[in-house]
């Protein structure tokens, strides 16, 4: 499979002297869905900022769709890689919600009728259409987050990178974002999500990249990564309740763990034992 992003032995040192990445190598295939997980400060945000050239590696290289990020400006790389930053307040520039979504499309010279059609479509998907004439700065945190996602999806980049998209969203809004993830998958997009949301990961991603202290410590499908207590401990992640329950039950021989547990399956197996 063709690679969307290749990260090759990247080190990154912030100007203050913090070495945030210590030799990260990673390959993301076209059309793949991956999650980057790890404790706070492990370097997730630093890594994804390399994907559209906001940060350039101190050593090593990052190649996006065949282009070395050191050789192209951020605005050009961003046409391929849409990056939704962690903090929405840093990425809102326009006077109205409508204009905010139109902003990148205008920068990339989309024809006006396309802009109109897409702004409306994505505002509706994100349930923000009713706010179209409001100032984006007056939205709630969750709404601002969805607005910045809409602004990136609307200009249709091939690779979409989201930094903690579900933070600050309630259950229903998370479901909406989940719906959008499914949409992106049917569109064949490459998606990279930084998140702590285990449920979200189990639902959507093909592969988890676990980071700790500026390094990738493991890459595995969710069924494996999230049921491996020692690996999770190293990444300082808490396994999801269901996985913890399944691990405990399987240690007691009441349940046989294979892949990520399904709640119905766990109940069935336990009941079966009980009946005996």
């Amino acid at each position: 499979m063709d690679a969307a992003i290749v990260v090759d032995r990247v080190h990154y040192v912030y100007p203050g002297g913090v070495e945030a990445l210590r030799g990260v190598s990673l390959r993301v295939a076209k059309g793949e869905f991956i999650a980057i997980m790890g404790e706070n400060g492990s370097g997730k945000t630093t890594l994804i900022k390399h994907f559209n050239g906001v940060l350039k590696p101190s050593s090593g290289r990052v190649v996006v769709d065949g282009v070395d990020t050191r050789k192209a400006p951020i605005s050009v790389l961003s046409r391929k890689v849409g990056l939704v930053f962690q903090n929405p307040d840093h990425q809102i520039f326009s006077e109205t919600v409508w204009e905010e979504v139109a902003f990148p499309m205008r920068n990339y010279g989309f024809p006006e009728e396309v802009v109109e059609e897409r702004v409306e479509r994505y505002l509706r998907i994100m349930q923000l259409y009713k706010y179209r004439d409001r100032s984006p700065f007056l939205l709630s945190l969750g709404e601002k987050k969805r607005l910045t996602i809409a602004a990136v999806l609307a200009y249709d980049p091939e690779i979409i990178v989201l930094d903690e998209p579900t933070a600050g969203q309630d259950y229903l809004q998370k479901e909406q974002i989940s719906g959008i993830m499914n949409l992106l998958r049917t569109m064949g997009k490459t998606v990279i999500v930084v998140t702590h949301d285990v449920e979200f990961v189990v639902q959507h991603v093909d592969r988890i990249v676990l980071m700790s202290q500026g390094r990738v410590i493991a890459e595995a499908p969710p069924s494996k990564a999230l049921t491996d207590p020692s690996l999770l401990a190293r990444a300082r992640l808490m396994p999801p309740h269901l996985a913890r329950l399944a691990i405990q039950l399987s240690r007691r021989g009441v349940y046989s763990l294979s892949g990520y547990p399904e709640i119905g399956d766990v109940v069935d197996q336990v009941l079966k034992r009980w009946a005996r």
Partner: protein, 248 residues
Amino acid sequence: MTSPLQAFKYTRKDTFLDSLDPRSKFFLSISLLLISLFTQSITVQLAVIGSTFLLVAAAKRLRQWVPTLQAITPLVLLIFAVNLLFSTPPSLAYAALMSLRFLAVTAAFSMFFLTTTPDDLALALEQSGVPREYSLMFTMSLRFIPTLAEDVETVGAALMSRGFKLDEGNIIKRAKNYVYLLVPLIVYEVRRSLMIAEALEARAFGASEKPTRVKELKMRARDYIVLAASLLASFSPQIIMWLGLNPP
């Protein structure tokens, strides 16, 4: 963090300069400023920079201080060029004097901020009769310079990530581009300051006119020595002239 702003960031160390009362240190920087402002001599400017260098070296802060001076070099060159172009008649010596003066003053005040904790600064202001609101305002603005610099970078990166060509076009175009940066920045900083104000009030800021302090500043013998030395240094060019020795 952007390096010019590193200039005003305190790092804790245990040296002679750190042990001084902020007031006497401030006086020391002021006297360096006065010497620099009142002399027309390039040699004296160099002497001011040289002595600041020695003081900073003694305070083990060269690693922060030197990058600051490097960072302001473009500004120094600009001052040089402007003075060379607009002085009548054009005078190399005058342009050199003005740019060195700028360098000397920055060097001296950078030394002060590098060796004084914001807390000591606040104490010094309060004990000099500045109301608490103002001293806090001053130290908080210092505290937020690096944060602000980070925000500028983050917002700029976000703009470019939306396909905006921030650093392209002629100077006027670029200046206009930066207006886009200002909108989110102002909103963000205003919001942040309101949050800080609320947090301060939640911690009973302003409940008493003059809050008690754990630490009181006290001038010691070494402070008086520095004061006297600074005073003497301020007048040194005049003294030298007085003695009939022309300063070079």
